[in-house]
Symmetry: C2
Subunit: 410 residues, 2 copies
């Protein structure tokens, strides 16, 4: 018998993603990912909540699903009923909500319930990488709709749906992040929401509304959710606590009518979402959420201003961006000659991590010279230094910005 | 435009599982599921651990994966390195471990990495329902190997592998729960482990070792893990904190060689397992695990004795079972005339939930008159009353036990 290591390779099925690389630690200037502001984490409140909820009902941890059944901790669902009513205009009950292990599991459950290989979905052209990757892996055709400063362009959506209809294709859903769109930071106005719902109903194509950034609007005012505005219930709504409280707490949720909820629930075979995280969130949020979020918004807005100032200082006219209405990211246009996929590696070597535009878009040409910069996690000083370092790399690799603007300005 | 509710049904793909039923609350006498002894939950210790770990490093919750990368909280992996070495003889490092959202996600990741529709796997004939259901849903052929009082029969495994080889079929893995098998409660002796490893290597079929009950052995002594005994590394090992600490904390783990670990990691697209649960478990277990588990074992053993006494009292000679060597369940044989699939509904109507044997076996004939009774969660009084109620239902439906034995004995 050979003493060589067991070879698993012949056993691997076709179509697996490439193997993961070993983790090598965090990057010094990390402008990627949904990481949040560590100073904005309501730590004392979470500690007090953990203590209180565990003392009151901690022994329910010995039961799968606590005493709440498979849709998640009842008190967290009840908090969401009140929050969704107050903020998003959604009238629903606790049984219309399914707590998930982050909004990524919510996306997986929606996709598992509606999609088969070869299906088509309509999405915003520039869009969340996690959604694009999942759909691509599922063998689904993505039809991207361009955005402007008010989010998805409804004229383009209408044309795309007509075009698909002519081809005999009924898309499975329209995926949208209408309230602080990822990565553009736009907010779809009420009139466009009405128009989107009309198109959805006319074409029999449901809307998949991903509202995971909706709490982080500078003005604190948001339009009603598409779910709330729908008269016929053709909307599946998802959200998350990752952006408003902490991303490492893996808790999201789905709001959906029972005929589709019951299908998603049948696919949720994980024996429940982490109960301690649900309990602590429910306990904390019931009394503190509405005060915590405005403070978090202010700290995020301040970091965004540091980022925009740093970009103007170090890149000058070589960057274009719109001041986003909320969120944790900025969608930045570099000169046409810059390919952000080729900027990525040398930037990383210089300690700066960025999200290259083509990974956040279904239109590679459009996104080629764009990048997404997340600003919630790095400190103000790290933002400033990281942007300076990125400008140096970009100049070296692509000749822009043309000269050291910060030198010129001093 | 019609005002009827949006109809999702035409959009559902083929092959979905049936819709879930609405949850109607817990059953009075619940002998199903891996629920644990609420009195055995180390609540004070968990509360103290939550406070300590959050005060020390709670702000890392603002970062996906804490500061530990995608394989899970480093201190929890370090606890596991020490525990697996001390208990199971496994020599591994923190980078050989992937923390998962319960051992169910571990099973999903192993299956996702190795299986395609049409594949074959070898499993214990009577086996964990969650594993059977997953494999069935994936379109995999299950070859069941009979068990005796020492677990999987190696003569039968040898014959099955030879038979498959003659047919040109190389199974993707041998799935086994060798240490407190679910549902039989057996423990595979060292000699059988050696023989299983020889067969695994000879046939080039890896072993998938599910060790999630291994902490709950009455004697406290367990054989080394197959993973530890393997010379060539053809074993994937998984475990869980559900049985030793609390099931609602959704934390399990995989130990595997990097060439297969890197594939599983690429499929773990959930942005991490719940961080608070990992942190609290690591903090608690590092100092308390080795004292907590023996106390839990004693309370479980006492409940098992109540269950066996109750069965003898109310069913008399109409039940057969072996006293299991550990765990939280008893595998019970009723007279041949009893079909436990048909016992299930009337028992439930009487407030008693059981696991019918055919749901826990790939041999429907063998399992027809068997059932699994879980004893960790109900109180001693509930066990006694629930078994009495079950005996009444069984007598009414199937004529056994023949008369009210408890009456005769008084």
């Amino acid at each position: 018998m050979s003493s060589a290591a067991f070879d698993f390779v012949p056993l691997l099925p076709a179509g697996l993603p490439p193997p993961a690389a070993r983790w090598t630690g965090r990057v010094k200037y990390d402008f990627t990912g949904g990481n949040n502001d560590a100073d904005g984490l309501p730590l004392e409140g979470l500690i007090a909540a953990a203590d209180a909820v565990l003392r009151r009902e901690g022994r329910t941890l010995s039961t799968y699903g606590l005493a709440s059944g498979p849709q998640g901790y009842r008190r967290l669902r009840e908090f969401l009923v009140a929050k969704l009513k107050a903020d998003a205009g959604i009238a629903c009950g606790a049984d219309d909500i399914l707590i998930t292990s982050g909004s990524l599991q919510a996306i997986d459950l929606v996709n598992g319930t509606l999609l088969a290989r070869g299906d088509t979905v309509v999405i915003e052209q520039d869009c969340y990488q996690g959604s694009i990757n999942r759909l691509t892996r599922l063998g689904v055709t993505l039809v991207g709709i361009p955005l402007d400063r008010d989010g998805m362009r409804l004229d383009a959506l209408s044309s795309a749906l007509d075009d698909l209809k002519r081809k005999g294709i009924r898309p499975k859903y329209i995926y949208t992040i209408p309230t602080v769109q990822n990565p553009t930071g736009t907010i779809l106005p009420v009139e466009r929401r009405e128009a989107m719902l009309r198109l959805s109903e006319a074409h029999g194509v449901p809307i998949f509304e991903d509202d995971c950034y909706c709490d982080l609007i500078w003005s604190g005012e948001r339009p009603p959710a598409l779910y709330a505005m729908s008269k016929r219930g053709g909307v599946i709504h998802i959200g998350s606590f990752s952006k408003s409280i902490a991303p490492a707490l893996r808790v999201g949720y789905i709001v959906a009518p029972w005929d589709v909820m019951s299908r998603m629930l049948a696919l949720k075979t994980d024996a429940g979402t982490g109960a301690l995280e649900q309990m602590v969130l429910a306990e904390y949020c019931a009394t503190h959420f509405s005060r915590h979020v405005p403070a978090l918004r202010r700290s995020l807005r301040a970091k965004l201003e540091t980022l925009m100032e740093s970009l103007n200082e170090h890149f000058g006219t070589a960057v274009e961006f719109d001041d986003p209405k909320g969120g944790i990211f900025l969608w930045v246009k570099l000169p046409d000659g810059v390919d952000t996929m080729k900027l990525y590696e040398p930037a990383l070597a210089a300690g700066v991590a960025i999200n290259p535009g083509p990974q956040w878009s279904v239109n590679q040409g459009h996104a080629r010279s764009r990048m997404r910069l997340c600003f919630a996690s790095p400190s103000h000083e790290e933002i400033h230094q990281g942007v300076a370092a990125l400008a140096d790399v970009c100049r070296r690799e692509f000749g822009v910005p043309a000269s050291s603007l910060s030198d010129l300005k001093t």
